[in-house]
């Protein structure tokens, strides 16, 4: 019995490899054929807009704090109506590892992943994406979410001018 198994074990692999030789390879010939990627594939990051067409990003720095390789950086600024936005927003895709932690950290669903993985290039500086490269004209994977409506902060006037609100403290002033 042992001997029969040994002999079979020696000759069976030859049959398997011979059979495989006449089967169609499973390789996808990449540049010509493309793989059907899953919907939730994590690749290039984008900044989406809310359904009203305004930028979702409020420059809260949570994504850059969550980023394990520190590839996201931004400068926060405040608009006339008191809402925050990113003065500039930069993602260095030469460092990005496409882990998607930034999208999980984002409270406004602004930063999202897309399935576009074809980022390769010869000049690394071209892989540093600025805000205008990242910002898109659609809502990404959620068509209804608007952060300000959910959170209920109806800021209409500059800070401290709403009825019943004290003016903000001037942090650079020593006076009580």
């Amino acid at each position: 019995m042992h001997v029969i198994r040994g002999i079979r074990g020696t000759f069976q692999p030859f049959w398997v490899t011979l059979r495989n030789m006449f089967r169609k390879p499973v390789t996808i010939q990449y540049p010509e054929e493309k793989q059907q990627l899953p919907e939730r594939y994590r690749a290039r990051l984008i900044l989406t807009r809310d359904p009203d067409g305004a930028e979702r990003c409020v420059a809260c720095h949570l994504c850059s704090a969550a980023c394990p390789v520190d590839c996201i950086s931004m400068q926060a600024a405040e608009a006339e109506d008191g809402r925050r936005y990113g003065a500039w927003f930069r993602i260095n895709f030469t460092r990005c590892i496409f882990c998607g932690l930034c999208t999980e950290a984002c409270p406004t669903l602004a930063i999202q992943v897309t399935a576009d993985f074809e980022l390769a290039g010869r000049d690394p500086l071209k892989l540093v994406y600025e805000k205008e490269d990242l910002l898109v004209d659609h809502c990404g994977n959620n068509n209804s979410y608007n952060f300000y409506r959910q959170s209920g902060i109806g800021v209409a006037a500059p800070r401290g001018t709403n009825p019943g609100e004290t003016p903000p403290a001037d942090v650079k002033d020593l006076m009580p």
């Binding site: 692999p13 030859f14 398997v16 490899t17 011979l18 495989n20 030789m21 089967r23 169609k24 390879p25 499973v26 390789t27 010939q29």
Partner: protein, 330 residues
Amino acid sequence: MSEMLVTLALILGKLLFIFGVVLFMAAYLVLAERKILGRMQLRYGPNRVGPFGLMQPLADVIKLLTKEDFVPARADKWLFLIAPGITAVTALLVFAVIPFGPTLEIFGRQVPLVVVDLNIGVLYFLGVSSMAVYGVVLGGWASNSKYSLLGGVRGLSQMVSYELSLGLSLVPVIMMARSFSLTDIVMAQQSIPFMLLNPVAFGVFFICVLAESNRIPFDLPEAENELVGGFHTEYSGMRFGLFFVGEYINMVVLGSLVTVFFLGGWHGPWLPPLLWFLFKVLAVCAMFIWIRASMPRLRYDQLMNLGWKILLPLSLVNILVTGAVLLGLG
């Protein structure tokens, strides 16, 4: 005087022909191996450079030539530089005695299709192939790296062990052909190839040839997943290329030897002799590739057991039986 010049020119011509054909075959064997292995593993293999990847060997050569020729800091420089050459040259030298066709008649001259028909051709092959081990060992030792040294020591003991059975499995062939000359051995297989007359010797010889060529299932000297690259761990650029090409030249040479000793050389019906020879060599090489795709690597104790406890006694008994049968037949 002119007679001598013509002979010299003929020998030079044959040398150039063999050199070109063998190197060409070695280069395309690499491609063929990669393609066949790929298909057997449900991949395509190289298919980007040129039509069907046919320019891949050229691309490989350009890549290897333009890489840095690196010598490790504490390595033994001269031996490190020489070792790859030993491997490639010994593999090429064996081809001097291999007859690849019957005697041709060109302009009324008898031209044997072999560089030199030595009357000790078999021993010449054994001697030169026993030199091949020095390339592996000295390369491994001179690199001054643990992995290389282990690979070198493994290669050394493996080749020395299997050389015995290799030589002994050829003794029945010599007894049946009654000559050491490879041409005579081919001529003796005019009607029936020795593979059918003495299948045991063929089996032992084939296994030993696999072991001598350091290919799977006997690739312990390089064993990628244990020893990084074995004896050629520290080599780069064209010196690595020489080891690599040497291995494939060796494949062509050993394929031709199997053809000459057991498959009847250039003898065959219908087709011209040269084509028959080429076809048989390629068939043996395809067999090597098929074995590489199908077999796992032996463990070291299994390797030594197979060599000393099975193949050696088997070939000794085979010599006795062959001798008895030949004596009985008169």
